[in-house]
């Protein structure tokens, strides 16, 4: 009986690791991911813009957190995912890990840009300046450079996609270490240069009515990430396995 269970697990792992299975299985989820993303975003924004009460200190401008914070969370979450995939891709040479890692980069970079831009738009009415070099914003900006670095590395090795993916994976792993060091060093630096003690989410007690839309948006952005990443991963697999039979069968099926 034990043998049966282990075999099923091994089989599942192998299925997930094979490009045609991954392509097929992920195809089932795409529609739902997009629908959930759109639905949760709609409800989350209605909840955040209409239902949630205005902050007594910041007024209605605090509502920017409903895009700023989820975007910032995603920028870090996605980077961590890329780091893990990088490790799997380098050590076990799993093609799916390469695909997921590379597919996550563009949407992760977008979330980082949104976090920076909305942070600036939130900061202007709060601090009076369009930019402030506080610990969080500075780290987020460097995170954007790290994303750009991974994408630039992949595109630099344009002749050999396998090599390009492995180099990008190495940079992603080094980047994870780097992000941790940067986080602590920037925090240390901003703590000795007083003046940057303003934090964007200085709220200690956030009421449920204000927190709830944030959670909706957090989930909404995760589902859109899932959709975008899986779509790009599938495209990557089609591209890099284009000489294989399973790709050609799929191309022949869909004449759209």
């Amino acid at each position: 009986m034990h043998k049966q269970r282990t075999n099923a697990l091994v089989r599942f792992y192998h299925k997930l690791g094979s490009p045609p299975s991954f392509y097929r299985i992920s195809g089932y989820f795409l529609k739902w991911l997009l629908l959930l993303a759109i639905g949760l975003t709609t409800w989350g924004l209605y909840d955040g813009l209409v239902l949630a009460p205005a902050d007594y200190q910041q007024g209605d401008s605090f509502r920017i957190i409903y895009v700023h914070v989820p975007a910032a969370w995603m920028s870090m979450f996605i980077y961590a995912v890329m780091g893990v995939c990088g490790v799997i891709a380098l050590i076990w040479r799993m093609k799916i890990a390469e695909a997921v890692m590379l597919a996550s980069a563009p949407i992760g970079a977008w979330f980082t840009v949104i976090a920076l831009v909305t942070g600036s738009l939130w900061g202007k009415p709060m601090w009076g300046t369009w930019w402030e070099w506080d610990a969080r914003m500075t780290s987020e900006l460097i995170l954007l450079f790290l994303y750009i670095g991974i994408m630039a590395t992949y595109s630099a090795f344009s002749e050999d996609t396998r090599k390009a993916a492995r180099m990008a994976a190495l940079i992603a792993i080094v980047g994870v270490f780097n992000v941790v060091i940067i986080h602590y060093s920037v925090q240390w630096w901003s703590s000795i240069h007083q003046g940057s003690t303003v934090s964007l989410t200085g709220k200690q007690n956030i009421t449920w009515d204000m927190l709830r839309p944030l959670l909706f948006m957090a989930f909404a952005t995760k589902f859109y990430y899932g959709y975008s990443m899986l779509k790009r991963a599938r495209i990557y697999l089609l591209e890099t396995e284009s000489n294989k039979r399973w790709v050609q069968d799929i191309i022949m099926e869909k004449k759209s």
Partner: protein, 221 residues
């Protein structure tokens, strides 16, 4: 031990033959530091205020100029392949390359820094910490640069990519190094940033050679 020292000796011999390569970063620093009083006015107090940061930034930029040389020349003439093929551990070969790069480019920066300090009216009490912080920090530049160099050595125009990749790695070094000199020029203790800098150096020595070795192996696949 012998292959390590042999590698360093070879690189030093080659490097000392082309002395201009050693002077170029220093000349670069002189050229750029001239821009600061020309742009800001020659007020001693202003210059002294920005001196710690400017010296450190100039050291960083001057290092960037030489980072690609860690592996590029050896890649072009096939030496890198021999590092991989010998039985001598690749990370140790990498360490040797980093050491020789630092001796040829980082150490001159350390020794030249007081001159830049004088030009920027750095307070006299700060020179010791300045040189100490650069002594610890410039090797870290070489370590971080080795990853970028190992990655871009096979690319024709890898210079910009190297800069993009290496800058986030160099940022913490700049933060701690400049802070050390700022603190001592304000009369405070520089021990905290110097200790943090030393921690970074130790971390680099233990981890970076493996990362650079991995990049070399991927490049030679």
């Amino acid at each position: 031990m012998k292959p390590f020292l042999a590698l360093v000796k070879r690189d030093l011999t080659l490097g000392l033959r082309r002395k201009s390569q050693i002077y170029q970063p220093l000349v670069f620093q002189l050229l750029v530091v001239t821009m600061f009083p020309l742009g800001l006015g020659s007020g001693a107090r202003t210059l002294a205020l920005i001196a710690p940061a400017v010296i450190w930034i100039l050291a960083l930029l001057a290092s960037l100029l030489t980072l690609d040389q860690i592996f590029k020349n050896d890649y072009d003439d096939g030496s890198v392949e021999s590092y991989v093929l010998t039985s001598y551990p690749l990370p140790l070969s990498v360490l040797a390359k980093i050491l020789s790069h630092w001796l040829l480019s980082g150490l001159p920066l350390v020794l030249f820094s007081p001159i830049i300090g004088v030009l920027l009216h750095l307070p006299s009490s700060s020179y010791g910490v300045l040189m100490l912080s650069l002594l610890i920090g410039t090797p870290i530049f070489s370590f971080m640069g080795s990853i970028g160099s190992a990655l871009t050595m096979s690319l024709k125009h890898g210079g910009l990519l190297l800069t993009i990749l290496v800058m986030p790695l160099l940022t913490p070094v700049l933060i701690f190094g400049a802070s050390a000199v700022v603190e001592i020029s304000l009369g405070n203790s520089a021990s905290q940033p110097l200790l943090l800098l030393s921690g970074l150096l130790i971390l680099s020595i233990t981890l970076i050679p493996f990362a650079a070795a991995a990049a070399i192996k991927i490049n030679l696949e």
